[in-house]
Amino acid sequence: MKALTWQGKNDVRVETVPDPQIINQRDAIIKITSTAICGSDLHLYDGYIPSMEAGDILGHEFMGEVVEVGKEVTNLKRGDRVVVPFPIACGNCFFCKSDLWSCCDNSNPNAWMAEKLWGYSPAGIYGYSHLVGGYAGGQAEYARVPFADVGPITIPDGLDDEQVLFLTDIFPTGYMAAENCNIQRGDTIAVWGAGPVGQFAIVSAFLLGAERVIAIDRVPERLQMAQQQAGAEIINFDQQPVLDTLKEMTGGRGPDAVIDAVGLESHGASPDALYDRAKVATLQATDRGHVLRDAILACRKGGTVSVPGVYGGFVDKIPMGAVVNKGLTIKAGQTHVHRYLRPLLERIQRDEVNPAFVITHRMKLDDAPFGYEIFKKKQEECIKVVLKP
């Protein structure tokens, strides 16, 4: 089959590789009909995530048709159309039973590696480095799906791929980010990063009852999408001082909750952002924390800082004084996608939201390297790329 493989920093290639096989009896093999490039794939492309190996197949947002199932998979059959959640979860451990699917104890074969970095290991993730399992991803013609009896959700007829594909990751990720804000009537939410996850965080904050949402970015087409499609007010951080503008827009109180939908590669021209660049360049830190710092400082007293953005290692100069003295709550996590599949599918069926609004580019799997390039460089007004194998 054809698959997109990681070969090094800024180097991904479509190669011909062997087809995946059933290895364990709870596996299924999916013939992929649609797959997407995620903003977090760019962290791999940019070489920010350790433990990648040349030849790794990328992609954790994919859906398709079941072509084969292991003996223990009784809920799926050949021909079923399914969306696959990006975390791999066993369904039986304490964490899965507690609805914390991305914390599954049993799905990361390289748990020892993650334990060295994070203390305990989260779930395995498709195509996202050997720290989280080294599983072959779904930017390919076929993928092996472990624990297929608990992960994939069957999609009813009448919904096309583009409406449901983002149930794999970015819609639930934006939704969980908003849910973590504990939104009350009248709340104002500020969202850093108007990429796809930011867009879904905005949409979800409104679905959960926020009165106002303010999006912060500097890419014109992303701000425009946030304003026109998702209904947010906007701040361009290249033109306006973010903290002062937010304070003014919220009548001097600050947003009730803030969402960092940017993660470890944040941009900025402030002294702390330049400091981050220097620290990362000299290997004294792994992640850049400018957005997280701003979000903490902007948040109103007693508010919530919600972090769906990906961080991998260490961030320097976190204003812990602001967290403590303003009495903030910080909530984060890889998304417990399994928890949101059914309720969000129902919202799509009820036409409350059509996730396809974020798609700007559709291309063949063969063109995926070009997709990565324009997505990274934000060329051609690229916001979201969907690939068709």
């Binding site: 493989t5 190669e15 030849g55 197949i57 799905s107 990361n108």
Partner: protein
Amino acid sequence: MAATERDVISTAKQNRVPGRQLVAQQRNVGTVDRLISAVAGGALTTFGAMQRSAPGVALAVAGTYLIYRGVVGNCLGYKALGISTAQPSQGIAVNKAVTINKTPAELYEFWHNFENLPRFMDHLQSVTVQDNNRSHWVAKAPAGTTVEWDAMITDEQPNSSISWHSTPEASIANWGTVRFEEATGGRGTVVHVELEYQPPASKLGAIVAKLFGEEPNQQISEDLRRFKRLMEAGEIPTTAGQPRGSRSMLGKLLSPSS
């Protein structure tokens, strides 16, 4: 390991002779490594001294450090990085715990059939139960050989604990105890495992060390993790046999999974 884990590992002999512990802790450079270090250090010192210049002095100083590292077997760099290329040379005693989302009865039943142990204990090739109390164990030794012994169950408390001990004629004396305790709040079972392998002679000591590789602590952690996964998920997750793209020669050399 996720959930709860407590572990203590030490060489059995070290526990009893405090003086040896100090030496063993300082020694973190393996034999071959030490030899190379000493020879290279000697060459570097000689070459440096012959230069009669400032860089030459620096080389000689570096060479002297390599000689020290070779002779004493202690590397400050390895220490800072937490690396050791020295082999443990005596027995192994391990005490670990893992929490598993099953009842004590389910776990007891699986463990009590010792023939199941090689399914998650990597150093074992097979265990054959001979009668109610006696079993024959085959462990993997270096270079495709095996070490075998018989063991007897010395104590069993249904759904609670099992203890076993090798028979007196075994070449490697070893014993173990596993206890199953209900976790708080109905959150599964805490499994406590104690294992000790105690060889009488120095040659066999080296074999015991190799049974568990260079990091016996981690290997036994992984054994218990496999036990947990087998019990909770019904299978052990793996990526062995999945497709992958091409790798450069350098990538193959550096890859941990090659």
